[in-house]
């Protein structure tokens, strides 16, 4: 009995694994203004640009990029953004955070700011801007249930667009190091013939992974001798 089940389920799983993702197109670019590099012990902070400026970057996207930067052989030391913001209260609140690097020298003159940044060995601030939006969708899917059971019939699709930009500020030099952008478009499908089969294109997760990888390369950068 167990053997029969295996024979039946294994092809199903294989087919499922092949088709359970939608279509994704992605593009990642970086634009370097200044040279980068990070020494052993130095770290980065990932922050969302202020929602006072209309930014909608999701909290879970920030956390995903934080985790992504820590991964791999080029993994960076990431200081959790809430810890950083609390330690420098009130200078990095949505209302008060510097919006341009030209504001950094004045910020560094404020009492205690340089010391707190030095204590945490923060070398770079990465400012995230952007969000994931549903830009299109269509189709029709209906479900019904009765005493004898239930089921769904139809076809639905939707397209998510994840556009993010990461601006990298060097706190040693008090200037912008450059930007990394990612644009990911994902189209998901859900055909249903009694059972709906979701074929999900994870646009945001893809945008997170690609941005984090590119940011790692960007920051570890061109000062090979200094790399952690």
């Amino acid at each position: 009995m167990i053997l029969n089940k295996r024979i039946f389920w294994n092809p199903m799983l294989a087919v499922g694994a092949l088709v359970l993702t939608g279509c994704i197109t992605s593009r990642v670019e970086d634009s370097r203004i200044n040279s980068t590099g990070i020494k052993s012990g130095e770290g980065v902070v990932v922050m969302a640009k202020s929602y006072h400026l209309g930014n909608e970057t999701e909290e879970d996207y920030i956390q995903c990029v934080e985790r992504g930067l820590e991964r791999g052989s080029s993994g960076l030391r990431v200081i959790p953004h809430r810890q950083f913001v609390d330690s420098l209260f009130p200078w990095f609140e949505p209302r008060t955070a510097p919006s341009e690097t030209k504001h950094l020298p004045q910020l560094m003159d404020s009492p205690g700011v340089v010391e707190r940044i030095a204590e945490q060995k923060v070398r770079y601030i990465i400012w995230l801007d952007g969000d994931t939006e549903r830009v299109a969708g269509g189709g029709s899917l209906s479900c019904a249930a009765g005493p004898g059971g239930g089921g769904c019939f139809g076809f639905a699709w939707w397209q998510n667009q994840a556009d993010y930009e990461a601006a990298v500020w060097d706190l040693n030099e008090l200037e912008a190091a450059g930007t990394v952008t990612t644009d990911v478009s994902g189209t998901s499908f859900m055909p249903a013939l009694v059972i709906p089969i979701p074929l999900i294109a994870r646009a945001q997760a893809n945008a997170c992974k690609s941005l984090a990888q590119q940011l790692q390369q960007f920051i570890v950068g061109d000062e090979g001798d200094d790399s952690a």
């Binding site: 999701e58 909290e59 879970d60 209260f89 009130p90 949505p94 009492p111 700011v113």
Partner: protein, 218 residues
């Protein structure tokens, strides 16, 4: 004969649906981190109105749901902590105390003028947002109003991995924290408390320019 189990289940379902039409949010007492600032050398009295001890905002979103947001003692706790960080000395003043009898430079009396919020259904986003408008009145030792400053604060929290009630609670706390940040940055400039205290310490008269009410500065 009707099945009693079916009746009971139906009743539970109806009660559940009715309960889903209303949401109650109770704020935990917020705290702010110790700010990186130099204290203003002033001794202030802080008189907190009754609404600060228990502020409840009720609102029905037309055709949808009833929300009740209980800020409780959170504003009183926040302002007491904040002014403790900002000024060298803070004395809590009750409603029946005469400020002239107290060793204070000025008396500060905050109040809540407006509380508003939006839920994802209204904003067509995934976020809850809260706006709070405070009014900060400052009185000299004789009880004369010397400053009247509105503080508009905003907080926003996405629903993502937390419930709607938790997101709204977080948005309210972020709005209060936003107010705290604004007061740290601008209160002295907007109200002139520091220079009034300095003038009192020097026993000199308060300069004419500092007696003007810097109203509606944000």
């Amino acid at each position: 004969m009707r099945n009693p189990i079916r009746i009971a289940l139906s009743a539970i379902l109806i009660l559940g649906l009715l309960a889903g039409c209303g949401s109650n949010v109770t704020l935990d007492t917020p705290t702010i981190p110790t700010p990186l600032i130099v204290k203003i050398p002033a001794s202030v009295g802080l008189r907190l109105p009754v609404e600060f001890q228990h502020y409840v905002h009720d609102e029905e979103i037309i055709g949808r749901e009833q929300w009740s947001i209980d800020l409780g003692n959170s504003n009183a706790a926040l302002f007491t902590q904040l002014f403790g960080f900002m000024f060298e000395k803070v004395t809590l003043v009750s409603a029946d105390e005469n400020p002239a009898d107290l060793p204070i430079d000025v008396l500060i009396e905050p109040s809540i003028e407006a509380f508003e919020f939006s839920v994802p259904n209204q904003s067509k986003t995934d976020a809850f947002a809260v706006w709070i408008r405070y009014r900060i009145k400052v009185f000299d030792q004789q009880g004369t109003e010397v400053a009247n400053w509105p503080v508009s604060a905003y907080g926003k929290s996405q629903k993502a991995s937390i419930s709607g009630s938790q997101a709204l609670q977080r948005a309210a706390i972020l709005a209060m924290r936003d107010a705290a940040a604004l007061m740290i940055m601008k209160l002295d400039e907007a109200t002139g408390i520091g220079s009034m205290a300095a003038a009192r310490a020097g026993n000199g008269p308060v300069p004419e320019s500092e007696q003007e009410q810097p109203s509606d500065i944000e």
